[in-house]
Symmetry: D2
Subunit: 327 residues, 4 copies
């Protein structure tokens, strides 16, 4: 490839009430509020040295405007533009100045219909990693990954592996060795993006990295103290897949956030992707717990990068929509 | 009162396969095996300086032989014998030598029909608290409490408070301010025994103290690695009541074990019992999760102290058998 | 004994700058500020249901006005008054209303010359244990113990054991089996008070209980972020004695605070006090680290309960002032 | 550059007693013993999927045979060979079969005289990440970095940055903005190698990654229980530089091992290296503690890759050999 995607960069989410979002993300989860105005809230984790990793925009209904990856250099954007154009996929440029704190950006509708953005520059800000006096709630460290529900995982898998240079760390196999879900990375962690079989294209969740397990447990306690018990959807638990210690939350608009710790290093070219059977009871939750139905059924709708209209949903190609535990 | 019950002492549980029990309790949970023979397994926690806090006996079917409290001195046993005799409750003496490692013991059928034992002496053994090289699994520190399901919680509550000198730390109120469950203590923790409204008398669980939250999470990981995913019944989570960070496990015979950390000091005479409404969503699980039905319905049957036959079960006096979350 | 001391209650410390104290204790360590005025700062831990456990008073120089124990009932105060009077030790009554939030109090100069107070009543306040959204810094849970440097430990030991009903959990033996230090308790933890051989009488430190080890590590990070690196005197480490995971801090007036987690249950009458040799390298710090000289040499001076003048210091009876590690 | 160094790979250390090493590394620190014979002990961390990251060889005296980096592909070795040859530095090939479990390897004496090895292949083995039942001691997860003491840090810095493609995450500046120490990485963590001003070339320590802070504290407890108190040289503490939560140990041969958790992601091309003043009291230990002199003075001697003789030591170019805290 003649471009270099570095890592998951940021999500731009539409929300209906910025004050409700601020209470949840800043007071509850401990995000740093870099900047805000009446229509925007820019948030980042404690170790992040770029302006934001979560951009919440005031809107009339919740949806996903775009999920963004950071690339190594400006020319990578042009190479990516050529790739997507060659594939007949929608592309759109946002020039410098069109987005606050972000440089020139390329937006595309990816192979699954997801609105994806690439940028090389975001304004630098002070890193708060050693401002422990500001640590609160979940003490969110940094953005880690996106998880997307798509109708055809193998199509997404092939595009990201073959055309975009991602590598696979783990995957779930359904009947006939069909790929039911896959975890793909650019930075050497388990993933920058995962694709999961389901009604889509939708954003299932944005994952944020925590420095330790107790920060995640403390987040549960803090959220419950603040009255957010219904926001705690699943966990804490351990995923068999990815070895993540996880917590799934629903923000005030229903967007799903994963707090995440565990992972391992995946930079070796001889690292063999780990295969899990979809019905292995330790795959989803290593400890055997089932996930609630909402976790399989609900996700955030996404926008068309050209029209900003909601992308229509399609049924998944694989029929099995969640694991069956035979005991 | 002219006697002094110090604390929860030990449980004597019947199990069908001692090797299966050993694998679960010693390899999985990290209990110290003080001693064993073909019919008995004596286990203790890392800080315990008495011979055992869990005595597992080989039997043809699982049941609870007795739950035991340690008293301050020998004469306390005589005073307790007088009390139970005066109340017309069954009593039975086990003289020195009749039980391995335990001194003279009084067994009674308590006001709810539970088989309860009192003893002043148990053989001393080496405390392993600072043998960190032996720490394994959940690193169980010590026995903490019993939780019993009884048909008439108020009757049990009144007997333990008024006749046996227990104090109440927290309780759950159902319709008409009826006590649906109560947490009672002698040592200044949240409880040595709790009573919960339900089909009984049955032993709901034995609680063991852990030194920290991560030991509990590690226990989940270790048990899952060993293939015990179906043993993890509920949690990890935080109880609103007692503030415990908890995990409920089912041992190979179905006996329920709670791993427990959290608690607080309750020695003050001006400590006001904390009232919880049964339908408060943060009471059971502070984070809002529901408990599985098995947690409300299943418990260990108990024996008659004179005949060793299983005590017949009675329906509870309060109709509500579990919380209803109105959302 | 015809009285019942329940537990360590509070310390009244003189400090020169209440704003400096507030920043250290409230912002840094996470104490709850119950109340304050220009001359007083009343602090408590997160689980405490009484008005305060630390009373800081504005003064021209740092010193200890009194260390206080809570007793079971009002009449215990009268019995204690008789005891101290019979021993020819100074006593003084503070009637209801003389101290904010505290009932009738007896102050005495104990056998070592330490200013000690007893009270049965302190105003109740809301317990913040489950207000996790207010947790900060070290998340201090409750007061745990006092550690006092006295010239004659055996004299203090005998008085507290024989006359005041304390029990010994652990002790340090110097040459000739002389008691160099002793850990004594009323509540069933390792200690409510410890006495250590040294120039005295002085208050070496006040110990506060934390719920877990990571809160202590986080306290180091928070204090360092706030510029308090010179306040961190010793630790984090593990004491062989008491098994405590510890951190020693010096507050802005030089008063020493211990953050403390570890401990074990000591309510059994057959618990054998644990003997440590003064030169055992794992006694002080289980991991073998030496304590800095300041830890052995520096402590807070104490006041005369009648005159409020500083009590004169005496040299210790045992010559060895700190451990010698022979390697 | 026409080669791609992926990450720190392994260290080959000479030790005098393999049984002593096994007790320390396997029983104490929880390394997995992949394989061993009378002259070799091959160890790996819990997440490692390659044969070993620490190779201990029986020898008559302790020294460092080589520190090794893994490269992306075989041809990278040839390109590296050309580079070192062109610079007039010693090189040596070890063909397939010459080293157990490792493919063709290039050994060089680097610009500072350190014995460095590159390899593309190491035999795959089972990853134990989710075999929590095998977790012990420090639960070492993976190798993280080397720290080397060299006489001329700027020379090493320039070579690794300009010729070998490393990036700098943090550095320490001495008088005149001279680089006193530098942290350099290939994988996107704080470092794969650090250079520190001092008598050299010597290996200061090998750093291993732990998944969390409590594993490090537990390691202290386990080592102390096993009698290894004198092996604990420094910590636990927090480095200002790198934000690492650290513990420094000396193995039975005096080789220094760092247990390490903290770190952050460094993959961004716009990440600005963080500058620390050598005399900043929070640089070395964020909490302000001083390191012992042994930490500055002692390190492992290294071998000539051609002769296996010990490389002669040179005095450092910068005079300041450790920080001065002006208070």
């Amino acid at each position: 490839m003649d471009f270099n995607i570095i890592r998951t960069g940021r999500a731009v989410l539409n929300v209906v009430d910025l004050d409700a979002s601020r209470d949840f993300y800043v007071n509850g989860l401990g995000f740093i509020e870099t900047e805000s105005d009446t229509n925007n809230l820019y948030l980042r984790g404690l170790e992040e040295h770029n302006h934001h990793s979560l951009h919440l925009k005031k809107a009339s209904a919740p949806s996903v405007e775009v999920i963004s990856y950071k690339v190594y250099a400006e020319q990578d954007l042009d190479a990516l533009s050529s790739l997507f154009a060659a594939k007949g996929l929608k592309t759109k440029w946002l020039e410098i100045g069109e987005q606050h704190a972000v440089g020139r950006a390329l937006r595309v509708q990816d192979i699954s219909g997801l609105p994806v953005e690439f940028y090389a520059h975001m304004d630098p800000v002070e890193r708060m990693l050693q401002r422990y006096d500001l640590y609160k709630g979940a003490k969110v460290q940094r953005i880690d990954h996106f998880n997307c529900m798509v109708p055809d995982v193998e199509k997404a898998y092939n595009f990201y592996i073959n055309e975009m240079g991602f590598a696979c760390s783990e995957y779930t196999a359904a009947e006939g060795e069909k790929i039911w879900a896959a975890w793909l990375h650019r930075k050497p962690s388990v993933h920058d993006v995962a694709f999961m079989n389901g009604v889509g294209p939708r954003l299932h969740h944005v994952g944020f990295w925590l420095s330790d397990q107790l920060s995640l447990i403390h987040a549960c306690d803090v959220l419950a103290s603040m009255g957010y018990t219904t926001s705690i959807e699943r966990g804490p638990g351990r995923h068999g897949i990815s070895n993540a210690f996880f917590l799934y939350l629903r923000d005030p608009d229903g967007h799903r956030i994963e707090l995440y710790n565990g992972d391992y290093l995946t930079c070796d070219p001889d690292f063999k992707p780990i295969r899990w059977d979809i019905n292995d009871p330790r795959r989803q939750t290593f400890w055997g717990h089932e996930a609630p139905d909402s976790w399989f059924n609900e996700a955030s709708v996404v926008q068309d990068v050209l029209t900003n209209k909601t992308i229509e949903l399609a049924e998944p190609t694989l029929k099995q929509h969640k694991p069956t535990f035979v005991t």
